[in-house]
């Protein structure tokens, strides 16, 4: 029998600070315990499904309500979140999620509606979706927006489907190649691979821009388009963006923008104006929808005028114009050459769309511009403070993030060790080992949320760790020391996959 109570770990280094190990909820289970009592049934009993569909041996945990509440409260106290501290996870835009968003998405009119309700009964919801589409169009410079995609990579897949449909509609069937820079997010080639297209990797030049010569050589009449993140994952705005787009358009390709880094551009540059044809937004990054364990995400896609007809159906439109004091009647419309539906219902409405709408409404046009400017200022401030301690391989004025090397001459301390040691200073580690074109990458994105005191404390910690790497490398290499658990065995976790909530019988004897 498995131990059913919290255990004290015997190897706790300091006996005054015993480490509490939280069992799984299955281990806390005891036969017969229950958290709810059902009232006597007042409806007729119906037969159970056929026997072969019943699984009487499922080890569902049996616990009292208080046990469940305590279990999850314990686990939540092990967690690190934007609400507990600085979270400079590059490329993820872990900004603070204002609490007013939580109020609005719980308004009964939003919370208690069903996606299958007649449109006459959900006009408020549709008006919000319509207005959000309009705002996203205005922010990005695109002509049409779908709110359907469930998250960023789903938005990419939607965007690439639209690109393919566009070429096909013109009878252009030769196009099978997607150009993707070596600094791209891994989801870009994955989305393209799912479509059965070929990925052609385009190198970066010494300043971190797309290598124009390599791009030019790859541009021919088999190119579907190019997927580009701008600013890219080095946090750098491509200095030749207009030339890049010209080359791709010149061979008949379309330009896809990965909107992961839109936070740097709000109110400053509109991707549609630059010549991008398609882009996905990450509402869970740029527009403060919770993510990273607090999801789900939301990945609307914007398109330029020549692609509007290919958007997924349905999108929210005006069915009858309003007049005088009467608002318009909102409903669902089907684009003429739609690629079809990408998701059941209408996107992540309450979790994503209402929160993003609130965030944009609360900031207004001027506020959105402030977001981009403070995000860029904060990243540049941190980069300047760390420049003399950490090598920055593509060192120029950055946008919302920058990438440093987590290694020092004559030391075997690595980016991973530095990241783990940061946890001892109560900071979430930056993204590490990405992008792949930087050795021992530490990708740091402070976001606009943080004040100078926090940025300074973080820079101080990183500078101190660089010193520790010289004077006490073992301290850094065995970190973290102050967290509930020490360093995880990532190799064992990846090689010996046990993904069940309970141990299958084959393992339980071992």
């Amino acid at each position: 029998m498995i131990n059913a109570s919290p255990t004290l770990s015997a190897d706790a280094p300091d006996q005054t600070k015993v480490k509490i190990v939280e069992p799984t909820i299955f281990e806390l289970s005891s036969p017969g315990r229950t958290g709810v009592t059902f009232p006597a049934s007042d409806v007729p009993e119906t037969a159970l499904p056929p026997e072969e569909l019943l699984r009487p041996d499922l080890p569902l945990p049996e616990l009292a309500e208080v046990d469940v509440v305590r279990h999850y409260m314990h686990l939540s106290s092990f967690n690190y979140s934007v609400d507990t501290g600085f979270y400079p996870l590059g490329s993820c835009t872990m900004k603070y999620n204002p609490k007013i968003n939580e109020d609005t998405c719980r308004l009964p009119g939003f919370l208690y509606t069903h996606p299958l309700q007649p449109i006459e009964t959900v006009q408020g919801n549709l008006a919000l979706m319509y207005q959000l589409q309009e705002w996203l169009k205005e922010i990005s410079g695109f002509a049409g927006v779908t709110l359907q995609p469930a998250a960023g990579a789903h938005g990419e897949f939607t965007g690439v489907l639209i690109m393919r449909a566009y070429h096909k509609s013109r009878g252009d069937h030769k196009r099978v190649k997607m150009l993707i820079p070596d600094s791209a997010h891994g989801t870009n080639p994955a989305s393209v691979g799912m479509m059965g297209m070929n990925v052609v990797q385009i190198p970066s030049d010494s300043r971190g821009n797309v290598d124009l010569k390599a791009l030019e050589a790859a541009c021919d009449d088999t190119v579907v388009g190019m997927m580009l993140t701008n600013p890219n994952t080095l946090g750098l705005f491509d200095e030749n963006i207009e030339k890049v787009i010209e080359l791709v358009h010149g061979c008949g390709g379309l330009m896809y923008g990965d909107g992961a880094n839109l936070n740097a551009l709000l109110g400053i540059v509109r991707p549609g104006d630059l010549g991008f044809d398609v882009m996905h937004f990450n509402l869970h990054k740029t527009f403060a929808v919770p993510h990273g364990g607090g999801g789900p995400g939301s990945g609307p896609v914007g398109v330029a005028a020549h692609l509007v007809d290919f958007l997924p159906e349905p999108i929210v439109g005006i069915i009858e114009e309003g007049e005088d004091d009467l608002p318009p009647l909102y409903g669902f419309v089907k684009p003429a050459k739609t690629i079809g539906r990408m998701k059941a219902f209408h996107g992540h409405f309450g979790g994503g769309l209402v929160r993003a709408f609130t965030y944009i409404a609360m900031h207004g046009a001027g506020g959105l511009k402030d977001i981009a400017q403070y995000a860029v200022l904060n990243a540049n401030y941190l980069q300047a403070r760390l420049r003399n301690t950490y090598h920055i391989p593509y060192d120029r004025t950055c946008m919302h993030e920058f990438v440093a090397e987590g290694r020092f001459a004559g030391s075997d301390v690595r980016a991973l060790d530095i990241s783990k040691r940061l946890m001892d200073y109560n900071f979430h580690p930056p993204t590490n080992y990405f992008p792949l074109i930087v050795h021992e990458a530490l990708m740091i994105e402070p976001t606009e949320t943080e004040n100078k005191d926090t940025l300074d404390a973080f820079a101080d910690a990183l500078i101190k760790i660089a010193e520790e790497a010289k004077t006490q490398p073992e301290l850094v290499k065995s970190a973290p020391h102050t967290t509930k658990f020490g360093r995880m065995d990532e190799v064992k976790a990846a090689r010996e996959l046990v993904l069940c909530c309970w141990l299958p019988e084959d393992f339980s004897d071992q």
């Binding site: 891994g186 080992y433 990405f434 792949l436 050795h439 990532e490 190799v491 990846a494 090689r495």
Partner: protein, 125 residues
Amino acid sequence: MNVPSHLKYTKSDEWFDPATGKAGISDYAQGQLSDIVFVEILVEEGETIEAGKPIASVESVKASAQVYSPASGKVAAVNKALPDKPELINSDPYGEAWMIQLEGGTAGDVMDAAAYEKYCAERAH
């Protein structure tokens, strides 16, 4: 870093043995990837492949990577034991961790050991 002199190397860090027709990834590549936790061989015995075609995908705790064929030819054998022991790529990249063996393989765009060593040293900066 171990760079055996009898092998040929690609810019994408695969090795090719012209004598045996075997191919895999270099010691430099495994060092950069760190602990390899997954490998899948993407070609089958009997298949004829061109140099540059993806032959395997490997994943480490840090990253995942495609492995491209350093040579063209007919696949005479694939290392079926490797997917069960991906750690061999870390411990013996040129030996037990061979990935495919080509029959009548013709090397693609490859360099010799000295040139490859120099190429790796340049990338360390």
